[in-house]
Subunit: 417 residues, 2 copies
């Protein structure tokens, strides 16, 4: 097994100012090609922290991937630390210098001294070109282990990962004929974690040496199957057997596999059934539309919507009867129904979805506490609304409302199937 | 200084299936009260990994905060590992058992054996109540160090952090009269990192022993000032001096401080000036509306908008002239202007913003490559549109378009000031 560790350098990650999305992306990419990611460490912008992390990880890892600390300012110390760590020194790297010079002259901005410093590289490293930015990556090889440093800017890290790092890991897996680990995730909807576990029974009875993980989330429990094998084909075959077993017991709860989220599942069903949808959003303010349009090609089925954040907009833009709002309130079954029906008619779509609720922190009452939402769904035959009451903060409530609205359309599409 | 380390347990984080948002949140909370977060480690769901992480961190940390692995399924091993680590054993914790029993009976769902196991706790730990879920937290104290385990579900972790962990860290800082570290972030807009660094000069000349970090992002460069001191008041005073110096040199680029993002800054300016806004979104599909409505109280100034994802919606919902789309295309200055103006008139707001672009991966042409966007801004006096061309993937493009649209309104509000 080729083992990978990830070191993310930066006080901003350490103190929680920034979420470590780079580590997750890198880990998922390495996992996809069969390598095993065994550790992530976040280290401060401090020589001692970085060196301790390197020392700790070198023993157990075949690859150590570092990001961060390669920019042009004084707090970017990774290059100097690695140069010292390998008893090396920085020398001007001509190809990088020329590339920078050209880029600055093209852009017409001044090539500052601090930008020139980016072209000084440790003499012993292999310089990894960066097509998405200024600072190149660095590759050191020592005792048959690879230590690779990349910029922390996500697009630049991704460029170097795709062009240099992932191909190299793949080659190592082949050269060493290493075991690989393969994963497959089954996404469920509509069943709690414990019930799913009982439905499946003891994992030892059907996992045949593989691993099974339960991952609860807002949008349902994910089941992740993992299998170690000498190659991808064998691992895939084993996983297929395990998946078959799980589907026999819990197949009706499995909405999709892998990275496919509920918005994509719903989108695929809409496309397959040649149906279209539009949305009327109050408290989610555009999140439901944004979820649909996150998916490339969503213009096949998503026509648009109206963000009816104010009551005035509900009345003027989607023709909700002012009496409905007066009598039942903006967060009510009646308003949700009018919104869903009217947005469907206005956009001339097969389905109309509405979301009207109280995300918080303000706006709650005894009758309708923060976390209350009415979700409407309209098609040519009928329009109905359902109520949920959650009790979380604004961000979580908005995500839950959006997830439930997508889930509601999913259920409808499945029953029509 | 009270030093905190964070261990996140879970294969799903290790292999990159889930982004480690918990660690960031915990770190930011600890930082806010003056503790110093020195390390995050992500460990696999494996006894050896967890114990190695504990051993590595115990020496340097006053607090070790663990999350994950406390659920009801076989891959949740944290409780057993900690029990073994402290030579302890699990015993039934009556108050927890009763609480669970009541909760299940209330809900009318079966109290399964695997749910009952949640009430078995290590005998030596202090049980930390969890108001947001089933599994309580655990606190162990050894050699004057605190080791605290919490569930990985964010709402549950946050509940235990707020009620138990943060008050305890605060008390330790007081009891030990520890030094504290305080941070303040200044958010800039409209200036590249290197130019900002040159404008400020050598940090040693004005940081007076504090630290200065440059954090580039889609929405501008953040400057983070850090200062160690014997108490919060002294640290705050020093930071104020440093901030004054920075503002004298670069004040015109500073749009906000701290966690306040551009949507909140723009929202506050709108509220202060008693202005309202509406949006017309094509490729962002609701993201701009969602950004405005992320902010509590946004109903004071955000009235709503239209998601005009299809050309049909642009024409029917916002009265764009079909000839405009025929002649110039949906992604054009002319369409952006009609959208911005018409949404403003329809919603009767002071400002109308439009976004029409090509997020990708499909839809690009030679003339209008993926990443092209026209942003329109309309008020009572005039309507204009600007074009940007980025070259990233769909998600990044959509974020950039949204950020730029907010930036455009910010600039307008500042010039009207």
């Amino acid at each position: 097994m080729i083992k990978v560790s990830i070191i993310t350098i930066g006080d901003e990650i350490c103190i929680g100012q920034i979420i470590n999305t780079n580590a997750a992306w890198m880990a998922s990419q390495c996992t996809t090609i069969g390598a095993k990611v065994i550790n992530h460490i976040v280290a401060e912008d401090e020589k001692e922290s970085i060196i301790q992390a390197l020392n700790k990880l070198t023993e157990k890892s075949d690859f150590i991937l570092l990001t961060g600390g390669l920019g042009p300012t004084h707090d970017d110390i990774t290059k100097q630390v690695l140069s010292d760590y390998f008893n090396d020194k920085l020398v001007k790297h001509e190809p990088t210098y020329k590339k920078l010079e050209e880029a600055y002259s093209k852009r017409g901005t001044e090539f500052l001294e601090r930008n020139k410093g980016i072209a000084n590289m440790p003499s012993k490293c292999k310089v990894l070109t960066n097509n998405a930015g200024a600072a190149p990556g660095m590759l050191f090889k020592t005792n048959n282990k690879f230590i690779i440093s990349m910029p922390g800017v996500p697009a630049e890290m991704r460029d170097i990962m795709a062009n240099h790092v992932l191909p190299l890991i793949k080659k190592e897996i082949e050269n060493k004929q290493s075991d690989v680990v393969l994963y497959k995730t089954l996404n469920t909807i509509g069943i709690p974690e414990s019930h799913l576990a009982d439905l499946l029974g003891n994992p030892e009875d059907f996992m045949e040496g593989g691993t099974l993980a339960f991952l609860p989330s807002f949008k349902g429990v994910k089941l992740r199957i993992g299998y170690n094998s000498e190659n991808m084909t064998l691992a895939a075959k084993k996983i297929e057997q395990i998946e078959d077993y799980i589907r026999k017991r819990a197949g009706r709860f499995i909405s999709s596999t892998g990275e496919e989220g509920i918005a994509e599942t719903v989108g695929n069903l809409l496309r397959k059934n040649k149906k279209t949808v539009s949305v009327a959003e109050s408290c989610t303010g555009g999140m439901l539309g944004a979820s649909f349009t996150d998916i490339p090609g969503s213009s096949d089925y998503f026509m648009g919507g109206v963000i009816v954040y104010s009551n005035d907009a509900k009345i003027k833009m989607l023709g909700v009867n002012p009496n409905t709002i007066d009598k039942f309130g903006a967060v009510s079954e009646e308003t949700a129904i009018e919104l869903a029906k009217n947005v469907r008619l206005k956009f001339n779509t097969d389905f109309g979805i509405s979301v009207t609720g109280i995300a918080g922190p303000g706006g709650g009452t005894l009758d309708k506490p923060v976390g209350t939402v009415w979700l409407g769904l309209s098609d040519k035959e009928s329009t109905a609304a359902v109520k949920y009451v959650y009790s979380n903060d604004r961000n979580v409530n908005r995500e839950l409302f959006t997830g439930r609205a997508l889930g509601m359309l999913y259920m409808k599409l499945m029953e029509n199937k």
